[in-house]
Amino acid sequence: MKSAGGYAPARIRGHERNHGKTVASVLFLGGLGLMLFELISAVPFGSAPMQVGQAIAGEAFARTGADNIVTAILLGYRGLDTLGEVTILFTAAAAAGMVLAGAGRGEAQGQEAGFIFRTAAWMLFPFLLVLGAYIIIHGHLTPGGGFQGGAILAAAFFTPLLASPASPFNHRVAILVEGFAGLVFVVIGLAGLAKGAFLTQLLGTGTPGALLSAGSLPVLYVAIGLKVGSELAGLMARVFGEGSARS
């Protein structure tokens, strides 16, 4: 009926509605909403006990040397969570790559964008790159960090792809970067074993507020930034059209 890559407008066959299901859903959802609200209201807004949070806020700077306590938590206290989320992103990218391999290219993506977009995309590229790098490097000092910066890096690479889908996206480089960045994270963590435990701070805390402070946290953030950037870019390039990698 349709070719393998056919993207005819998606329509649900048969417009009959299952009213019973809708009614049941609405009733259950209403119930769930009320109950969740009831449950969460048991802790009045702003009055949650802040035991661990308070303790961390008190000692985080002294222990890690990071001005941004959220960063201290993300890379220090809960560094393993961060490694985990990077892994999830990596796993999702690997899975999406596997799923989409050989999917062929949709005709919808084949069209070039307008001149303005194409030009702007290439002009934006260096600025986005620099911005991303800045945000990553200052993650331990200011709001921001590896994820935010990585997303901007990815945008830098992805915007040109949106503008002209025919332009090549080098998945090999992306994979290389994400692989080694992940490796660096784990290796830094394992190096921490020498000083006691996984992900123990390696370098000294340094001068407060200086760019080169907070021990190994900035290094981790650079790894995360590179990894997230390459993963996001690779993922989006894949979802957008696997075909471009082969052409």
Partner: protein, 123 residues
């Protein structure tokens, strides 16, 4: 008041997202619902960390400017957002494939075709 609004909004987002997942048959809408629901959950998580009069948990020159909000939920939310993004990307990749395979994204039709292919015909 702010609290009620925030909590109510967060839960409202969860409910809206769930509605799109539960009551709608279009798989793409289900995935949008997932995204909405996740934002709701993240909002809820972030609001839990609020402290009256608290500042952002960033020290200026190594000292706190006053009471801070709980930094942990913020870190958690950051993690949860990225996790949600990864899952969403995988879902979209699968949607592309399902659409190619079956020519439809009607959940019911997909489920029917799926069972037929699994050989789960009524014995």
């Amino acid at each position: 008041m702010t609290g009620t609004l925030l909590y109510g909004g967060a839960i409202g987002l969860v409910i809206i997202g769930l509605y799109a997942i539960v009551a709608r048959r279009h798989l793409m809408r289900n995935i949008f619902g997932l995204a909405v629901m996740e934002s709701g959950v993240n909002l809820l998580l972030a609001s839990v960390g609020y402290r009256p009069g608290g500042h952002a948990p960033i020290l200026v020159a190594g000292a706190a400017p006053g009471p801070l909000v709980d930094p942990i939920p913020q870190a958690l939310v950051l993690t949860a957002i990225v996790i949600g993004f990864g899952v969403l990307a995988l879902a979209l990749a699968l949607v592309v494939r399902v659409r190619q395979a079956y020519g439809t994204l009607d959940n019911r039709a997909v489920a029917r075709r799926l069972r037929a292919e699994n050989g789960e015909a009524r014995s």
